[in-house]
């Protein structure tokens, strides 16, 4: 039997495991609530006006502004990814299931790739539901769905690839799944923003940082970020890096994929060398 056949088997059963876990449905509920809340608050509070978005931008790009808000799925991509990926490798060692799985005629690389694919599919399912609700809301309120939503979804998926890769890298080296989950969340929510802010204060545009993926998603709708939201950013020389927030979404997409490939490669290498002590 080829390794590809084994990969299909591993992915299928890993996916079954993901769909049997309560955390999948927990992530789904959180996602639906978050999207519905965002839509409700945007419409109920008339957010663009309150945020000081110029009226001409609202008139011209009302649909896109709404789309930017309701498809800002960066956090959801991260949340989904760490929910599913944090313990994917570490738990085989922590809970000793590796004693059953590893002594089989299958390469560890195949096992890690299968686990990765299953985590990605589970995360993509969550993101897919979020984008479907958003697209539905766009149709209801604006009678159209901007094509940029596809670009936004692509970047959200690339961010998920990156986050799963990072969670796998932590999961392949740390003892427990919880540690890998927390480490991934801390990296994304604390470490990367510190680096991004520092770069921005120093006058550099931190577009390549993973925590700026949300801006890349927003930029797929073709609305100038500076024009629409410039009033929120303070501007001035110390924030010049932050003020240049509009990003090239294609470039961001490929940068995120590059990060994902590198981190995934690291996790494969670490898992292959890890011993069941």
């Amino acid at each position: 039997m080829s390794e590809f056949e084994k990969l299909k088997i591993v992915t299928r059963y890993e996916l079954l495991k993901q769909f049997r876990r309560k955390r999948f449905y927990g992530a789904l509920v959180i996602t639906v609530l978050a999207v519905v809340l965002t839509i409700g608050l945007y419409q109920g509070l008339d957010l663009p006006k309150r945020m000081g978005v110029p009226q001409n931008i609202i008139d011209q790009h009302g649909t896109e502004l709404f789309a930017i808000f309701v498809t800002s799925m960066g956090s959801l991509a991260i949340l989904g990814a760490v929910f599913f990926a944090g313990d994917a490798i570490a738990s085989e060692f922590e809970h000793k299931t590796g004693y059953i799985l590893f002594p089989n005629p299958v390469k560890r690389t195949t096992l890690v790739v299968g686990k990765y694919l299953a985590c990605f599919i589970a995360t993509a399912a969550i993101l897919g539901v979020a984008y479907l609700i958003s697209a539905g809301a766009l149709l209801v309120f604006y009678r159209q769905v901007p094509v940029g939503i596809l670009g936004s979804l692509a970047i959200a998926l690339a961010l998920a690839c990156f986050a799963i890769g990072m969670a796998f890298a932590f999961s392949s080296v740390l003892k427990g799944g919880m540690g890998a989950t927390i480490a991934t969340l801390l990296a994304y929510m604390v470490i990367f923003p510190i680096v991004s802010s520092s770069l921005a204060y120093a006058g550099y545009n931190p577009w390549f940082m993973p925590d700026r993926a949300g801006d890349a998603m927003a930029s797929t709708y073709g609305v100038s970020y500076e024009n629409a939201f410039g009033g929120m950013m303070g501007g001035g020389p110390v924030m010049s890096g932050m003020a240049q927030a509009s990003q090239n979404p294609t470039l961001s997409f490929f940068v995120l994929l590059t990060y994902a490939v590198v981190l995934f490669g690291i996790s494969i290498r670490l898992t292959k060398r890890r011993e069941m002590i």
Binding site: M1, K6, I9, V10, Y13, L16, K17, R20, R21, H95, K96, T97, G98, Y99, I100, F102, P103, N104, P105, V106, K107, R273, E275, M276, I277
Partner: protein
């Protein structure tokens, strides 16, 4: 008879601690060998090395002539393994678990289904085959571990404390299953239970502090030391 398992000068360090010290051992086809020794003697380390779960510090291992370090997947393709206290994915049922492992071992279709039913019946889990493993006791997991080890009818069985957690009835049933299976299999069986080992295996290897102290037929050992218990106590003197 050909040598099924060959361990040659195998050493293993854990962060500077020598767990296995140039161990050499040969197991011939259809032999059943009990690996005995006190806690920390190196029994589990030896079995984990053979399954490719650990990397040796030095030395080499071969299963059916295939180097375990260089070609792990090929080397263990004819091996059924039951190590330590087995744990399974709690969200899967025994049927699903055996289906997963069977497919990874190249089984499929009706033949695999028939074999799964056979193994489930053999270990007495018929009523539990569609229940998620999260509800299982330790003894039930032990039974399932034995089922997965025998599932693909492997030529070699590597068992580490396989009757741990079983009730007395389970131990007797387990012993009978192994006795039946061993007629056409090579067995390497690590245990603390001397009586259990004596009932199942014809050969015995006693290791202590990572070194092989004795390796011969059970009958010769009993002749030399009068009983397995006396031999064990004599050969592992001062352990721990």
């Amino acid at each position: 008879m050909k040598e099924t398992i060959v361990i040659d000068g195998l050493s293993k360090y854990y962060n500077g601690f020598l767990a296995l010290d140039k161990l050499s051992l040969k197991v011939r086809e259809n032999e059943d060998v009990a690996l005995l020794g006190p806690n920390g003697a190196g029994k589990s380390t030896t079995l984990k090395l053979l399954c490719g779960l650990l990397y040796p510090s030095s030395g080499s291992m071969y299963i059916n002539g295939v180097n375990v370090v260089e070609e792990r997947e090929r080397a263990i393709s004819e091996v059924g393994v039951m190590l330590e206290t087995p744990e399974f994915y709690p969200f899967l049922t025994p049927d699903e678990t055996l289906g997963y492992l069977g497919r990874l071992r190249g089984m499929h279709g009706r033949e695999m289904e028939r074999r799964i039913r056979e193994m489930i019946k053999l270990v007495g889990l018929e009523k539990w085959s569609k229940v998620r493993i999260e509800k299982f006791s330790r003894g039930m997991k032990q039974r399932l571990a034995l089922a997965q080890a025998l599932l693909h009818d492997p030529q070699i069985l590597i068992l580490d404390e396989p009757s741990l957690g079983l009730d007395p009835r389970g131990m007797v049933e387990f012993r009978e299953i192994i006795k039946k299976a061993k007629k056409k299999k090579t067995i390497l069986f690590a245990s603390h239970l001397l009586t259990e080992a004596a009932k199942i295996c014809n050969k015995v290897a006693i290791i202590d502090h990572g070194k092989l102290r004795f390796y011969d037929d059970m009958s010769r050992l009993k002749k030399k030391y009068r009983s397995l218990e006396r031999a064990y106590l004599k050969l592992t003197e001062g352990a721990i």
